[in-house]
Symmetry: none
């Protein structure tokens, strides 16, 4: 342990109130990308908070809200990328919040606010860590390039434009500290090394010009049946996706990845209780459950809407039916390939009448548990959290890992201050204050790894 490390930990503990006030200030600024609300103000607040700790920060403008770009020149040979996002999810259903989402409140050792876990807690923990480190060292042991975007919650539609302009810099980065993460349902810290990809499509079937009396179902085709049959062709009750070629690009799990998966003690019963389910999909458990969560692609119906949905009965033959599907992809599936396979398959199955509208997808990236950067992240976590963290080669969710890092071969490791009960995206989002403090110490410990 670096001799100054204990001093820094004491310094952090002495500054808790200051740090919580910083977090409160960051969470007080609404910044909902889906509603284009408060993004400019939040970006400016990020710049101000970075400048306050002597990080050279600017707003990079292109299409979409500005990207906050920070730079710190250190004395090491390497450059670390920090990736975060300053936007948050919408706050509805508002009436389920116990306190207002943008008025941070601490209750029972928990800090409640929209963005506390996802992702402002992580941003502020990093700000506090850099400040604490620089209060005890003349320089950081690495250069830092810090990217804080404002559209992560809507799929980072303009991040590729930023990346294109900064590709030469990004290519030379050693590794990236990814935006978020935290603890599982048993309080164990988790580090993820990648993200599943995503393809989001809207499927639509159309019938007559208008809704008709359902008596006509005897002679007029019903688009709800058409869409239901088309969906059934995509995936049957065995759970396997039927689109030809869908699994062709799926890469085998490497021995190191499988070893990491085996070392992961997944909290099955706690997770079932949390979600209120009797069992997992297909009665999965143990290694197969973990493998499905981390390495299986999915074909999920996120919404299906057609016809009458009100109280009582209405006998109508609906004019159209719409389903929204998300496919989570694993290496080396690509959203462009899958949407082409989907179109060809629906045509071949007689569903050329079913329209597909695809949004820009994201490519999957999985990581290497044996990479030296992963090992640094693990050692830092062991020091701060007092246990060996779980290492997940890929998280089950999606983020722009490929566009920012994966395409340049830059490895990532997540670092966040949330936990499995944080309700990111939901009402009453919160973090434990203790996890926020540990998150600050973790970033310091990670910097120490590079000073060694």
């Amino acid at each position: 342990m670096n001799p100054k490390s204990k001093q820094i930990e004491n310094y952090i503990e002495a500054h808790i109130e200051v740090y919580l006030e910083r977090l409160r200030r960051a969470c007080a600024q609404p910044s909902i990308s889906a509603q284009n609300r408060g993004l400019e103000e939040m970006a400016e607040l990020c710049v101000e908070m970075l400048k306050d700790i002597d990080v050279d920060a600017e707003l990079v403008r292109a299409n979409g809200p500005p990207v906050v770009l920070g730079r710190v020149v250190g004395d090491g040979q390497r450059s670390l990328l920090f990736y975060n996002h300053y936007d948050v999810q919408p706050v509805d259903p508002l009436d389920e919040w116990e306190t207002a989402p943008f008025e941070a409140v601490i209750r029972d050792g928990k800090f409640y606010a929209r963005g506390a876990a996802d992702n402002k807690g992580a941003i502020v923990s990093r700000i506090c860590a850099l400040e604490a480190y620089l209060a005890h060292h003349e320089h950081l042991p690495v250069d830092i390039l810090w990217v804080i975007e404002g559209e992560e919650e809507v799929g980072s539609p303009h991040l590729d434009q930023f990346v294109d302009r900064h590709a030469d810099t990004l290519r030379q980065v050693y590794a990236c500290v990814w935006e978020a993460g935290g603890k599982d349902a048993r309080g164990r810290y988790e580090i993820s090394l990648g993200c599943k990809g995503l393809l989001y499509v809207t499927l639509r079937a159309r019938g007559a010009d208008t809704d008709l009396h359902s008596a006509l179902a005897a002679i007029v085709a019903n688009p709800v049946w058409r869409l239901s049959w088309a969906l059934n062709a995509l995936k049957g009750s065995d759970g396997r996706v039927q689109i030809p070629g869908f699994y062709d690009s799926v890469q085998p799990i490497t021995p190191a990845q499988r070893e990491a998966l085996a070392a992961w003690d997944y909290p099955e019963s706690e997770t079932r209780d949390l979600y209120g389910i009797d069992g997992f999909l297909g009665d999965l458990s143990g290694e197969r459950l973990k493998e499905a969560l981390i390495f299986s692609p999915t074909c999920n119906i996120a919404g299906f809407h057609a016809g009458y949905g009100g109280p009582g009965s209405k006998t109508v033959l609906p004019r159209e039916a719409t389903a929204k599907l998300d496919f989570r992809l694993v290496p080396d599936q690509s959203p462009e390939e899958i949407v082409a396979q989907l179109r060809a398959y629906l045509d071949a199955q007689g569903f050329s009448d079913v329209e597909i509208v695809a949004s820009d997808g994201e490519h999957p990236v999985s990581g290497d548990p044996e990479h030296p950067f992963t090992q640094s992240a693990v050692r830092a976590a062991e020091r701060v959290y007092g246990h060996t963290p779980a290492v997940l080669p890929m998280m089950s969710g999606t983020g722009p890992v490929h566009v920012l890092c994966g395409q340049f071969g830059v490895p990532i490791a997540t670092a966040g201050v949330g936990y499995s009960g944080s309700r990111a995206h939901g009402p009453n989002e919160h973090i434990h204050v203790a996890d926020f403090i540990e998150g600050i110490k973790y970033i310091v410990a990670l910097l120490d790894e590079f000073a060694a």
Copy 2:
């Protein structure tokens, strides 16, 4: 022709503005049974309008909204039943209405309002007809018993209670002038002699306690998939219902019924144009198309709702999925038998988790084209419309024919003021003003048949 008949026709034409104002008043009162909206007010308005023309009218109360019961003592040996309903369908999707659904508007010779065709236009046409007849005759040539219920659009769940209390009277009725009807796409008048039955069910599949992040679709069952697979088990793309026993009770078409069907010149191309479809279900045409429309049972999805349906994308694993289905039944299928078959089949197919909520169904009734009452109805139509009407042994829609008439052996013939483009149940419901006037004359002509 009765010598006074021409005088009555002139009288009707001189009173068009008064009659349209009556209809406007009836349509201005919302009366949506599915939402329990305005039913009491509408029932009282019916009583008031009947009393205004000296019909002895009262509200009969039991469970559900009141039944309007009117009586006129005539000088004939026979008693005719008039059946109508004062309730209407919900008005959604509201934004597709060109004018507000309960503010009647006349445009281009058409009268637009929810209920114009189904069924307030028919009610008001009968009121005007009785008034016009009694302005020229001392008595009606028949006794009239007039039943106007308020739950037809939700399957008449309490009409059996009314019928039980008035069974002795209903049993002695000669025949019934059924609630609605009108013209086909070529302007030819149609008379129907029965109704398909109905079974309406809500199917529901449930997943986790709350909506989850869709990344969890890798390990948590999605109720939208469950429901979609269950639906697919009910009916495949060949259109045949897969529920074992579903077709077992279907009776053969009688020779007289088949003759009536053959004489029916179904306006195929006009109907396709009207609905904006390229072809009929399964490329049906000719005799098979007519037979399907009149004599085929159906399994229709009236609504399917689950998860996210807003703009853009939301990656969610929905907590539940709900579908509403209507089955149109033909003699001698029974809703009680079909729902039992449905439950057994879903269980056998592994869908015991899919909940079924069935509403009270309705039994099917088909009629005899050779019955003397049918012939009277045909002659009246020939006089008013100037052509031989189509006679349909059963209509493709549903009504409580069995409970009110069929179980007592009372024959029915429809009489209404709509046409195939009336959009009953849909946005912009309307009738032709000219059809409304002819509908009044038709009731007068039918009364004349009994005076002869």
